[in-house]
């Protein structure tokens, strides 16, 4: 590569850092959504680099479905400790217990995250919310802005989105509105993994191949657990699997894999014939426009 030429990872890193510093400069109360999933882990790593040697100038928010992988919860607490950041938790279980949310018949809690998230944004008066969404994930996300304006109900209106030119991000909003910010907009799944490798970023162990008791539902390997699986007709077996995404246990499927290191994961992702959401997310299969509908309602 010629002198003064940045690689794609350096370019994407510089862009993400620029976006995070814009938010820190323009907003009063930003927050970073942290699930322990690889995209949020990369965001946290970028935030630490963006503000070093100072502390990360915003807290983390975990929207807790109550259906968590124990490995991810351990990882979350260690990360909070390591980076010295404050963690806030919005609990789906609390909302169910108090009757403000009702459990769905299918037991899936991913769609239930929207209400606790919007409630946390309201009560904490967060004005900018970092999310790890990437445009390559899903077609509704392909039209998402880096700075995405949400109305006082947290709703996303694709027709009301502001044109985004150059690297001039417009974060102005009225009282009650907030802005979702996606610093990883231009990253692909492979970029994320290559960056994890380059930066030697630790991830929850479930991203790597391990033995697990799983059962088959809708073509995905789900983990048996208190959330309600397996049903009587479903049989549990022990397999070597890994997760490509981390979400609610009840709808995040594992894939058969022997990729035990970052290098092996990159090799696997590079030749995969299925998208990460297609392979592992039941919530995106509900309808053609599942993501578009959830985004409109204020989902991540």
């Amino acid at each position: 590569m010629p002198a003064y030429q940045l690689s794609q990872l350096d370019t994407l890193e510089a862009e993400a850092v620029h976006i995070m510093r814009e938010v820190a400069g323009e907003f009063d109360r930003p927050v970073l959504l942290f699930s322990g999933g690889k995209d949020s882990v990369v965001m946290l790593h970028l935030a630490a680099k963006a503000f070093a040697p100072a502390q990360i100038p915003f807290p983390l928010l975990h929207v807790d479905t109550g259906h968590n992988f124990p490995e991810v919860m351990t990882y979350r607490d260690e990360a909070v400790e390591h980076y010295g950041v404050e963690l806030r938790v919005a609990s789906v279980q609390d909302f169910i217990d108090s009757g403000r949310l009702r459990e769905r018949p299918d037991g899936t809690r991913n769609p239930l995250q929207t209400v606790p998230l919007l409630d946390a944004i309201d009560t904490n008066r967060f004005d900018a919310v970092f999310g790890g969404g990437r445009r390559d994930e899903e077609k509704a996300r392909a039209k998402e802005r880096v700075f995405s304006l949400r109305d006082e109900f947290g709703q996303w209106d694709p027709k009301r989105q502001r044109p985004e030119l150059w690297d001039l991000y417009n974060g102005r909003h009225r009282a009650g509105e907030h802005v979702r910010v996606f610093p990883l907009s231009n990253w692909t799944e492979v970029d994320i993994w290559e960056y994890i490798a380059r930066e030697d970023i630790a991830l929850p162990q479930i991203y790597y191949a391990h033995e697990r008791d799983v059962f088959l539902r809708d073509g995905m390997w789900l983990t048996a657990g208190e959330w309600g699986g397996p049903k009587q007709s479903e049989t549990v077996e022990r397999r070597v699997v890994r997760y490509r995404t981390v979400g609610d246990m009840s709808c995040t499927g594992a894939v058969d894999s022997h990729a035990a290191t970052v290098a092996e994961v990159i090799a696997e992702v590079a030749v995969s014939t299925i998208t990460e959401r297609g392979a592992t997310r039941a919530d995106d299969r509900l309808t053609e426009a599942a993501m578009e509908d959830r985004k409109r309602e204020g989902y991540f």
């Binding site: 690689s7 510089a14 850092v17 620029h18 400069g25 100072a54 290191t261 290098a263 998208t275 578009e292």
Partner: protein
Amino acid sequence: MTTTETTTRELLRFATAGSVDDGKSTLVGRLLHDTKSVLADTLAAVERASRAKGLEAADLALLTDGLRAEREQGITIDVAYRYFSTLNRSFILADTPGHVEYTRNMVTGASTAELALVLVDARHGIVEQTRRHAAAAALLGVRHLALAVNKMDLVDFDEGVFDSICAEFDEIAKSLGVDDVVAIPLSALQGDNVVARSSHTPWYSGPTLLEHLEAVPVGENPELSPLRFPVQYVLRPRDDEFHDHRSYAGRVAHGLVRVGDTVTVLPSGRITTVAAIDGLDGPLDFAFAPQSVALRLADDIDISRGDLIAAADEAATPSQDLVGDVCVLSDRQIVSGDRVLVRHGTRTVRAKVAAVTARLDLTTLESSPYDGPLSVNDIGRLTLRLAEPVAADDYGQLRRTGAFLLLDDQEGSTLAAGMAVAARCLRG
């Protein structure tokens, strides 16, 4: 980590534009498909949708249809971003719809693009839209134009048809001041000359579309531009270890900065030297666009977000008067006397539209005197009076610090994209 051989690729951002039936969606779908960027489950969904529409083969155009609203109306309402990569390059494609009323989307897509891919239908040749697309790209400072002459299969891959379209397009590019134009005869539907070389065009010796995208130069040589560094954020750690640390975080917008360089802080005009550069992985001797770094300066001067650090010997002069070309992006008209906000770099200032002076006809590429209201999709020249001075560069010279936005002073929405025009080259 040494176990992974991380590939280093360059990144090219490009934009596509085409009229409604030029087959742009098919071409983009073809690029994604033939670079193996479409995975089996996505393709299966497209095949299902194609069958539901009564089509026999997979309609690759469906790969790029995004929102339900668009599918129902069969249109594209906004810029969509697509990603694909080859061994040596990653690509970010801003896919913009081609309707007349979507000039603003073309402008948005072109603002970050280094190359614009303009489509024409070989049967119809250059049409009004082609001129508009090329003009929008040129206006936004896109230095490389690629002309995809699509549907060559429908004109029997006739060399004469291709040549006459090229000749006409070259004239347009020349009049726009764009030197780098490459035209490619192709068929998106059949895949000719998109990724694979076509056996139907033995008379064509140029690159396929993908070969061209892989070869076009990316980035700019930072040695040729003066330093521009908008200050985003002041880093002041609270730990005792960094008690006296104070650095200015930002992204190099243009040029190069070295430790020891003399710089001026705008708009105050204070002069100081760069004491240290903190990169994302530690201290650096120099940094260049578009790196994100933090600068430590030799003198303790008052600097905050919104200031611009520039090469001391080649700084723009801060001024409360700003002349620029704007493309109106929202439904709010812009007229003389309007109160707006101007966003330039990291600075936002109050402003008044002092005068609208000209309007550009994108079709004839002619600018004519005009002082009426500018409506959505209009491109016009105006003079702004700013509440505080801003150090804007000429957009044609320095894109990132020549760019500005007009924002609604009440609700904050983005009204117009602006490109500053240096006073010395006023034409309007």
